[in-house]
Amino acid sequence: MKDFDYLVTDSNYLIEFCQSFCKILEKFAKYIVVSGFFVICSGRSRGTEDIDIIMESIEYESFIELFAELQKNNFTCLQSSDPREIYKYLIEAMPIRILREEKLIPNIELKFVKDVLDEYQMKTRKIVEFIDRNIYFSSVEANIAFKEELLKSPKDLDDAKHLRITYYEIINEEEIEKLKEMIRKYRL
């Protein structure tokens, strides 16, 4: 890909990159895109170099098929090109990084569901109307709760502020509180 090939205004490179990955991933497992990329898709003006994705745990045989299809579509993994090794990372709850066309940026940080909180986010995943892309995200409430209760950096608090303004008509405060309680129980 030449440098300026993706400088188009109807979409952006991050979205195209994420969509092409998720299209393959969803054939094999449920997934959610979380955190920064969700906020950027919701209009927040900031950059990012990675996209965080959580996927259901799958059996090794399915993972081999998934990985073969990813390779066919020019995706590679930073940790290894051996699916056995990559799968080991995932089942040991370590994230892997996926690139396309050997470009180190942007990349995808992918991990398996690890606890009740991840499972809950998976159950409440959504295709967000405002974003108008065929990508499953964790709920607005989950993104706000994580940023306000767990991550808490200035960038994360600004992200949460952006989400609260953008989605104020649909935000369920009780749900945010419930998620914050779960975060305190399982992550803090």
């Binding site: 440098d3 300026f4 993706y6 400088l7 188009v8 205004t9 109807d10 979409s11 952006n12 490179y13 991050l14 950027i40 209009g43 927040r44 003006s45 950059g47 170099e49 590679t76 993994c77 930073l78 940790q79 290894s80 090109s81 990084r97 690139l99 050997e102 470009k103 180190l104 940026i105 942007p106 405002f130 600004d158 502020k161 952006h162 303004i165 953008t166």
Partner: protein, 70 residues
């Protein structure tokens, strides 16, 4: 209240974007693409050894490709 306290870029941008996403999304897309392009260009200036350390690359096929590319 002084001007510095009143000015909140996140809030201003979020409100503007929400009012008219069709107008502001192309601008945002250009910003995101430019940021990615800039980051990729910066990485290209780094020697492969540094890249390997920076990204903790363990994939030997990828390391070989990166070495061939440079």
């Amino acid at each position: 209240m002084c001007l510095e306290q009143k000015f909140d870029f996140v809030e201003l941008w979020a409100k503007k974007f929400k009012e008219n996403p069709e107008k502001y999304r192309p601008m945002l897309n250009e910003f995101i693409n430019a940021q990615i392009l800039h980051a990729q260009k910066q990485l290209r200036k780094l020697p492969t050894e540094k890249l390997i350390k920076l990204f903790n690359i363990k994939n030997t096929d990828l390391i070989k490709k990166l070495n061939e590319e440079r």
